[in-house]
């Protein structure tokens, strides 16, 4: 599908979530991108990006962990590296910025990870993968326009932030996911919680916080006429999908809001089935 290439190998950094709790996301990605002739080439021997734990403990460690993954990708000649988890992609971009800023960090990080870290590749999030393919081409490939979908696009906190690192879309009023959905023939709603936090890792330590935030997000999406929420982050999916039953119970409110990965909807529009994409494995499925 890509310019000048029949088939494309895209560097792929799954991160912990996509091989664990969110392997439905990986299933969805592989199925959807496969239809678009994109093969994911997973970095050999990748390690954890450090997530929220590393940068809370040690700044240098929080750079060194993703730096190793970058070095491996560069070693494998991957010019474009797709990290479907926004936290992973932000960590990779953070290292690139640190390396580019000088201060001898490139040398230091290269010594720590025992490989040269150039930081010159392109890091892509899921939306950017579709942008790279081209929304016109995506539109042309649609087999089943998503006429019944009225989606609330939910970016969460990290897809657009910190803006000085990720340089992606308007970080308060983003529009890029809406553009992808428009290409699929889906409707989107304007709503208020596009870039609010879902509670993320608090799901383990403070469930109350997560339930409160998830409730606000889900009920606001419903109030603005959405019949589903679209995410591009494994953590957002966990908190909005897996925790939805708990939200409903606690707030005595029937929500029944299907939470799609963006790749789910692209895949459905391209003619894949819910089973092929793993949509049937979500906690909230269509009644």
């Amino acid at each position: 599908m890509l310019e000048g290439a029949e088939e494309m190998n895209l560097g792929y950094y799954p991160g912990c979530a996509l091989h664990g709790s969110s392997n439905d996301y990986e299933q969805s990605l592989r199925a959807c991108l496969g239809v678009l002739d994109i093969q994911l080439q997973e970095i050999n021997d990748w390690i954890c990006c450090g997530a929220t734990a590393a940068h809370a403990l040690n700044h240098k460690l929080s750079l060194a962990l993703p730096a190793r993954n970058l070095a491996l990708a560069e070693r494998d000649g991957l010019k474009q590296l797709f990290a479907p988890c926004p936290l992973c992609s932000m960590q990779l971009l953070k290292v690139q910025k640190a390396v580019a800023d000088g201060n001898g960090l490139r040398t230091e990080l290269s010594q720590i990870v025992e490989a040269d870290v150039r930081g010159d590749g392109q890091i892509l999030n899921l939306i950017q993968v579709f942008q790279t393919i081209g929304l016109d081409k995506l539109k042309a490939a649609v087999k089943e326009p998503l006429k019944s979908i009225s989606a609330a696009c939910y970016y969460g906190c990290l897809l657009t932030r910190p803006p000085e690192i990720v340089h992606f879309d308007d970080f308060e009023q983003p529009k890029s996911m809406e553009a992808v959905l428009a290409a699929l023939g889906a409707k989107t709603v304007e709503w208020n919680y596009k870039t609010e936090c879902c509670g993320a890792g608090m799901t383990m330590s403070s469930e109350d916080t997560v339930l409160d935030l998830a409730h606000k997000i889900l009920s606001n999406a419903a109030a603005h006429g959405a019949n589903c929420v679209v995410v591009a982050c494994p953590m957002c999916h966990v908190n909005l999908d897996m925790k939805q039953a708990a939200v409903e119970q606690r707030y005595h409110e029937k929500l029944g809001m299907v939470i799609y990965y963006l790749s789910d909807l692209v895949g459905l529009a391209l003619g894949l089935s819910a089973e092929q994409l793993g949509v049937n494995r979500h906690f909230v499925t269509k009644a």
Binding site: P163, H167, F168, D170, F171, E172, Q173, Y193, E196, A223
Partner: protein, 666 residues
């Protein structure tokens, strides 16, 4: 053999802290050609200048080096002192051992050695100086004022009342500027229109003020005392001489739904319009992008209705020339574009406030129109979405100002005051309403200013929260304003009916192009540069051009008016003289050696060099040559560097001088 005096200054501790002044004075006393070398704590002071004058006379000095600060600071001071003692002022040079030495170094020994070197250069320059005479130029005793806001109006009236002619150029259809649209003004709550419109009428009727409204400065030529200004009169499609301002045309115009510029889109206007009823001149213009006749030859109702036959659909832009001696720039400000403007392209504004997305999030100038008696709601505060009276209004200050990450680093200065005023006016109009103000600091320096803010809080009950707003969302018709009260240490959510953003002040559109036409400086934000922040606050670095009002920096009305009067008085000083003197440090061409290649003519950025011929007394042709017009030359030296036959030279900075200076360091 020259007799040069060296006067080394301590500048209090500014120089003496880092440079051993005594040692410097001792060392330079033995330089060739030096007759005497002294030092003093404040050379620019009266006793210091007296010392210079006394030594010139007693030592019969034929050259002076003052080793102190930048020549920008005090060259004129010492040249005047030398002249008073009978020495040609152009035989005085400054050795800058402050900005170029003491201020930028720490090591005392090295700084002292460098100061000696700097003085050595200046001594060589003086040794090769020639006595020069200032150039005298005639003065056109008229002034141009660019911008017809309160600053421009004040400057124009002051100058005209002093007896000089003024040409005023205003870009909009009417003068009055931003102030004409304000409701009431702090800290006295005078009605803005009541105090401004009589001044506007004075401008319109003044026998010595020639007003070009709906016009812009197209080009500027010439120099101090002798500017030639080309003015573009934009096509108005209304003959202002025939028009009586009766209003039949704008009443009959069917296209009434265009957003009004004067109301900042809070109200509407027809395609043929005057911006507001008190406009000066009270003559309409046709917006050519909206008029059905001009777009597709339809309608034409206004033409049929006009008894004065003033409508002219064939009108075109006209260029007119005016000759003036001085210029006052008073082009004012605009507000930071909240939704779009950013210092980095990938940030697109304060998206979290939803300006442009939620109808009830407005900026402060829009609020002014909503509470102004002349506004679209006749002074009844109605929120834009549905016309309801807002019962909870949130005011957010510093939107764009003082924000390095997202906006501009500077303080816009007036927002604290007008936000307090807004809170107050709101309470006066909606007695059962509540005003909430989010602020970073309250900056209320000024006569009666802090008392005014206290009044808003204590008498009119405005709730002030020190903290920022992080997000505004719309839920069930209410604006949910989420912010922090950092003094109480708690997050705050306010259900508001209207939110007013105090956006940063920025210079008006087109300021940089205008500054380039006028050859005056501007800073990274587009604000015009004054010649000296303390001592020459209304002058620019281009002689004869002055600045007033918010084109210089964020300013309130009292300050703009004060600066405008200051600029006007500078203009009067200049126009009072029969002729002006210009510095003689300009280029000259040796017409005997000039090879007439005219490379200099092509490269001169000021078009100051002309082609001419040398002829004998009887008119016989000798040769062609280039010649410098001393009125136009700015002394940049471009011609000197391009002249292949080395015939062009800069008086006061001759090649001989520069080479002697360089060689003295060898």
């Amino acid at each position: 053999m020259s007799r040069i005096g060296i006067f080394t200054c301590w500048c209090g501790e500014n120089i003496a802290r880092t440079v051993d002044v005594d040692e410097v004075a001792k060392q330079v006393s033995s330089l060739p050609g030096v007759r005497c070398s002294v030092n003093y704590k404040y050379m620019c002071s009266d006793p210091g200048q007296a010392m210079v004058r006394e030594k010139i006379v007693s030592e019969k000095l034929d050259g002076v080096v003052v080793a102190s600060c930048s020549p920008h600071m005090h060259l004129k001071t010492f040249r005047k002192a030398a002249q008073a003692a009978g020495l040609n002022p152009y035989l005085v040079e400054m050795a800058n051992i402050r900005e170029h030495c003491s201020w930028v170094h720490h090591d005392r020994a090295q700084a002292t050695a460098k100061a000696v070197d700097i003085i050595r250069l200046s001594v060589e320059k003086v040794r090769n100086d020639a006595a020069l005479e200032p150039i005298r130029v005639p003065v056109t005793r008229r002034a141009l004022v660019i911008g017809g806001g309160v600053a421009g109006i004040q400057a124009a009236l002051d100058i005209a009342d002093a007896g000089y002619e003024v040409v005023m150029v205003e870009r909009e259809p009417s003068i009055g500027g931003k102030m004409a649209g304000l409701s009431e003004t702090f800290p006295t709550l005078d009605c803005s229109q009541c105090i401004l419109t009589p001044r506007m009428v004075e401008v319109g009727q003044h026998p010595r003020i020639k007003l070009y409204s709906y016009s812009e400065v197209e080009a500027v030529e010439g120099f101090v005392g002798n500017f030639k200004i080309t003015i573009r009169q934009k096509a108005r499609y209304v003959d202002t001489a025939k028009c009586t301002g009766c209003g039949e045309c704008w009443n009959v115009c069917p296209l009434k739904k265009n957003p009004s510029e004067f109301d900042f889109a809070m109200g509407t206007r027809p395609a043929i319009y005057i911006p507001f009823p008190q406009a000066v001149p009270a003559r309409p213009v046709i917006d050519k992008k909206q008029c059905a006749k001009l777009i597709r030859n339809g309608c034409g109702l206004c033409e049929k209705k006009c008894k004065a036959e003033a409508i002219n659909f064939k009108d075109e832009d006209k260029l007119v020339e005016e000759k003036v001696g001085t210029v006052v720039v008073a082009t004012g400000y605009k507000l930071y574009n909240i939704a779009k403007e950013q210092n980095k392209a990938w940030l697109s504004g304060y998206g979290e406030y939803g300006y442009g997305k939620y109808k009830n999030v407005i900026d402060s100038l829009q609020f002014e129109r909503l509470v102004s008696a002349s506004g679209p709601t006749n002074g009844v505060l109605k929120r834009p979405s549905d016309g309801a009276i807002p019962k909870n209004v949130v005011f957010i200050s510093c939107v764009g100002s003082r924000d390095n990450a997202k906006g501009l680093p500077y303080c816009s200065k007036i927002c604290c005051m007008y936000t307090a005023k807004h809170a107050m006016l709101y309470k006066h109009k909606v007695h059962d309403g509540q005003a909430h103000v989010f602020y970073m600091d309250i900056r209320a320096g000024g006569k009666g200013y802090d008392e005014f803010v206290r009044r808003a809080i204590e008498q009119d009950g405005a709730k002030y929260y020190r903290g920022r707003v992080s997000k505004i969302t719309e839920e069930n018709g209410k604006l949910m304003v989420r912010g922090a009260d950092t003094l109480a240490g708690v997050p705050v959510t306010i259900e508001a009916d209207l939110v007013v953003l105090a956006a940063a002040m920025r210079p008006a559109d087109g300021i940089e192009e205008l500054a380039q036409k006028l050859n005056i400086g501007y800073d990274e934000f587009g604000f015009l540069l004054e010649s000296h922040p303390k001592l020459r606050p209304v002058e620019t670095n281009t002689a004869g051009i002055f600045i007033a009002g918010a084109c210089h920096a964020p300013k309130d009305i009292p300050e703009s008016v004060a600066q405008a009067s200051a600029a006007a008085s500078k203009v009067q000083v200049m126009l009072a003289a029969d002729e002006l003197t210009r510095e003689p440090e300009i280029a000259a061409v040796n017409e005997q050696t000039c090879a007439a290649c005219f490379t200099c003519v092509h490269t001169c950025p000021y078009h100051a060099i002309e082609r001419t011929e040398l002829r004998t007394g009887r008119g016989a042709f000798i040769k062609r040559t280039a010649r410098v017009n001393p009125g136009l030359c700015m002394g940049c030296g471009t011609c000197v560097s391009v002249c292949p036959s080395k015939s062009a030279d800069l008086q006061g900075f001759t090649e001989q001088q520069v080479y002697a200076m360089v060689e003295s360091l060898a």
